[in-house]
């Protein structure tokens, strides 16, 4: 039995490596499953009757339509009824007086149960029968499913574990502090999984990146600041007792012509693993788009790494696009990866052509395989941080499947104060590299942090959705040495909080040694919270503080704007894909319903594509 359990587990780890952490609890569970096989053996008389019938039919060659086997009484079931009736009193005795430990578990189970309410309420067998029925015998397995499974060999991909944060009491934790995140890689990666016919592993789903993938129709700053902040408060669509607060940050939009000169060094991974239609050829096409959009004042250099690092073309200005395009054509994939050397070379090139007024940036395009070894990985990070201080940023573009080191790529971009985008299609390349060129390549505010202070009279507890790896300690907010996310020109960032209203009463834990009391301002105030923001002008050392109170103005969900409803649908989808404990009454159908009615103005078709992906994920999840 041990071997079978091992096989079953190893197969599962291929799809969801994070499961390994729970192995100790999974082994007894699988033992239980193996031992607990229901006794559903065939009645021997029935078996013989049917056999005879089939034999007769086979010999005569004429089908008989009226065959119905004899029906037998369910003697086994009757015995089971008796067994359970006898068992019951002993069970009630056993669990009648619960220990403290049991009580705790019951509470946690009750929470898990309520979180899964949607599952229980729905006619759970119904989706099974949504499958198209044919009057003929079913087709033998379609080759489509084979193809999909073959393309989904993703067992070497790596994702950082996401530990979901629960609700925090406002009395005990009045401040919620986090760094902004403008990455969108997770959405494109999730899309790649779904299109290949499988649900993504939960750790590949970063909800804030799903939400931030979409352009929202927010107004930029009216003053000279780099961004404007807007808030909307309404009900949570997956739990109508709770509220949902949307905080939207819209960076100043700068037209392409007004952007300072770009000094871009592309560092391209041309190792053997990039030799795939979804990798190097896609990367080349994406690069062509950038070259086509170059201005005279911009310069581009290309260097590669694979086995050894080398310069393909030294920094070349926009007047000589042809030379850059020709150099690009020469690239071929092959050899193993030596990422660290490549990065050093790229920084050298960027430094040589450094423009103090411009945007100096390395753009690393890879499927994530750096052969740098554990000792040099720390050095690599230090170098990236150092270079960033001298004004050279790092943006990471992820390509291809099967080998994505998602966690490492996000970390590198984070250290390099750039963003991390995942390019799965040429459309995505266009979105990241052309449409959002300003946001992808030009930073308008650095180290952007948010700190929310909630009013305990109106809010009992809160939960920030996503941003798990962007949380900061409360004291980090005022510490200018602590890093946070960057905001690019025209970028928008959205954060959603699920709030449990307090109903105007004080709550929280009574403490023995200190008093936590609400002051008169909180009691008399109509504000549910105050948002504090800190950011630095690019290159500046000191941060600037902004403050904005949020009034207790609750909008009815159906009359909230399209952006709010759409973002809430995306968040709900993320909760479902993560199989979150906090998904409440979330369902794929609800996501679809809300998203369909909140498409609004969608010139690029991103929201329509979202709806298609939700339908696909519903099919895969049910």
């Amino acid at each position: 039995m041990k071997d079978r359990i091992r096989t079953i587990l190893e197969e599962l780890y291929e799809a969801d490596p994070a499961l390994k952490d729970q192995e100790k609890r999974l082994i007894p569970l699988l033992e239980k499953l193996l031992k607990g096989r229901a006794d559903a053996s065939m009645d021997s008389r029935f078996r013989e009757d049917l056999r005879r019938e089939l034999l007769e039919k086979e010999e005569s060659g004429t089908p008989r339509s009226g065959f119905r086997p004899a029906l037998f009484l369910i003697s086994g079931a009757a015995a089971a009824l008796l067994a359970v009736a006898l068992t019951l009193p002993s069970l009630i005795d056993r669990f009648g007086g619960g220990s403290e430990e049991t009580a705790l578990e019951i509470r946690s189970m009750a929470m898990a149960k309520s979180a899964d309410a949607s599952l229980m309420e729905s006619p759970e067998e119904a989706p099974l029968f949504a499958m198209a029925m044919e009057s003929e015998a079913p087709p033998v397995p379609q080759s489509r499913s084979r193809d999909r499974s073959e393309t989904a060999g993703f067992n070497t991909e790596e994702y950082s574990r996401i530990y979901e944060k629960g609700f925090l009491s406002v009395m005990d934790n009045p401040l919620s502090t986090f760094s902004i995140d403008v990455d969108t890689a997770s959405y494109a990666n999730v899309r790649r999984f779904l299109n290949s016919g499988t649900l993504p592993p939960p750790d590949a789903v970063r909800i804030e990146e799903l939400i931030n993938y979409f352009p929202y129709h927010m107004e930029g700053p009216k003053d000279n600041g780099p961004f404007a902040v807007q808030t909307v408060l309404s009900q949570s669509p997956w739990n109508r007792d709770n509220l949902l607060l949307k905080i939207g940050i819209q960076g100043r939009k700068i037209s392409f012509e007004e952007l300072p000169p770009n000094n871009l060094v592309f560092l391209l991974d041309v190792s053997g693993s990039m030799d795939d239609p979804g990798k190097l050829p896609l990367l080349k096409n994406a690069m062509k788009m950038i070259i086509a959009n170059m201005r005279r004042e911009d310069s581009i250099a290309i260097c590669v790494y694979a086995g050894a690092a080398g310069t393909v073309i030294a920094p070349t200005g926009g007047v000589n696009k042809k030379a850059i395009a020709e150099a690009l054509e020469q690239l071929e994939a092959g050899g193993s990866t030596a990422g660290a050397e490549g990065i050093e070379l790229a920084y050298e090139l960027a430094q040589k052509n450094f423009d103090s007024r411009g945007n100096n940036r390395i753009i690393l395009a890879t499927d994530g395989d750096f052969n740098v070894g554990p000792s040099s990985e720390g050095e690599l990070v230090r170098m990236i941080e150092e270079k960033r201080m001298s004004g050279i940023y790092l943006t990471v573009l992820g390509f291809g499947s099967g080998n994505i080191k998602d966690s490492k790529m996000e970390m590198l971009a984070d250290k390099g104060k750039g963003n991390y985008a995942y390019i799965d299609t040429l459309m995505e390349a266009r979105k990241v590299l052309v449409e959002q060129m300003g946001g992808t390549f030009f930073t308008i505010a650095e180290d952007v942090k948010l700190q929310l202070e909630f009013n305990p009279v109106l809010i009992d507890s809160y939960r920030l959705i996503g941003y798990e790896n962007r949380m900061l300690a409360r004291e980090d907010f005022d510490d200018d040495q602590k890093d946070a996310g960057e905001l690019g020109a025209g970028h928008s960032v959205t954060a959603l909080y699920e709030l449990i209203p307090a109903g105007g009463r004080e709550s929280g834990t009574a403490l023995k040694y200190q008093n936590t009391t609400v002051n008169a301002q909180a009691l008399g105030s109509g504000e549910i919270l105050t948002i504090k923001m800190r950011y630095k002008q690019p290159g500046a050392e000191q941060s600037i503080l902004l403050e904005q109170p949020v009034e207790n103005r609750l909008m009815d969900f159906d009359s909230a704007d399209d952006d709010f409803r759409f973002a809430s649908a995306v968040a709900m989808w993320g909760l479902l894909l993560r199989d979150s404990d906090y998904r409440g009454g979330a369902s794929f159908d609800k996501v679809l319903e809300i998203a369909r009615n909140a498409r609004g103005d969608d010139p690029e078709g991103y929201r329509n594509e979202f709806i298609r992906l939700v339908s696909l994920s519903r099919e895969l999840a049910e």
Binding site: K32, M42, L50, E58, A80, F95, D116, F129, M133
Partner: protein, 184 residues
């Protein structure tokens, strides 16, 4: 192209697993027997159409069974399903009822937890663990990719993990109209 075996040999090999599969899905012996008959009658009728190049024999048979189960519930309407598996899946009869109680408790607890899974997730768990089918066959039967079957199994295990244990059983006893159902 089918192989050269007589159809009755196919029946002898697959009658039990197909019957079990239908029984797990329908939770009723009568229905399972009826649908098993229909499955093999239909398979016999279509036997000349079976093409081993396009998929395995077992997934072809499971596919027929699966569609018949689907059809069965369609004809009964969406709400016609008995959702509590543990009440219906047979327990072997035995004279030594008291002696087997502990084992049965565990089994029933497990079956109840399985019963709370969405049916498609449950189907994958049963096919992989109880029927020992490879993912290739499970993918063919359920019409999903192998990777997705694994992902659904992984999700199902996490759910089972949180739903199994003495506390859950206690909860279930308190939460459900247990006595009434037994008296029926």
């Amino acid at each position: 192209m089918n192989d050269n075996r007589q159809f009755i040999e196919i029946y002898d090999e697959y009658a039990e697993p197909i019957y079990r599969y239908i029984h797990y899905k329908t939770c009723q012996r009568e229905t399972a027997e009826d649908l098993t008959s229909q499955t093999f009658l239909k398979a016999m009728e279509k036997w000349h159409q079976f093409n081993s190049a396009r998929g395995s024999l077992s997934s072809w048979l499971y596919g027929i069974a699966r569609n018949l189960v689907t059809d069965h519930y369609r004809s009964r309407g969406r709400w016609g399903f008995i959702s509590d598996i543990s009440d219906i899946w047979d327990m072997p009869a035995s004279d030594n009822v008291i002696g087997e109680i502990i084992g049965k408790e565990e089994k029933q607890e497990l079956h109840r937890a399985l019963g709370t899974l969405p049916s498609r997730h449950r189907e994958i768990v049963i096919l992989r663990v109880w029927e020992d089918l490879p993912y290739r066959d499970i993918a063919a039967i359920t019409g999903k990719s192998e990777a997705n079957c694994k992902m659904l199994f992984s999700r199902a295990l996490k759910k089972l993990k949180s739903r199994l244990g003495p506390v859950v059983l206690c909860e279930l006893i308190l939460a459900r109209p247990f006595f009434e159902r037994r008296e029926l």
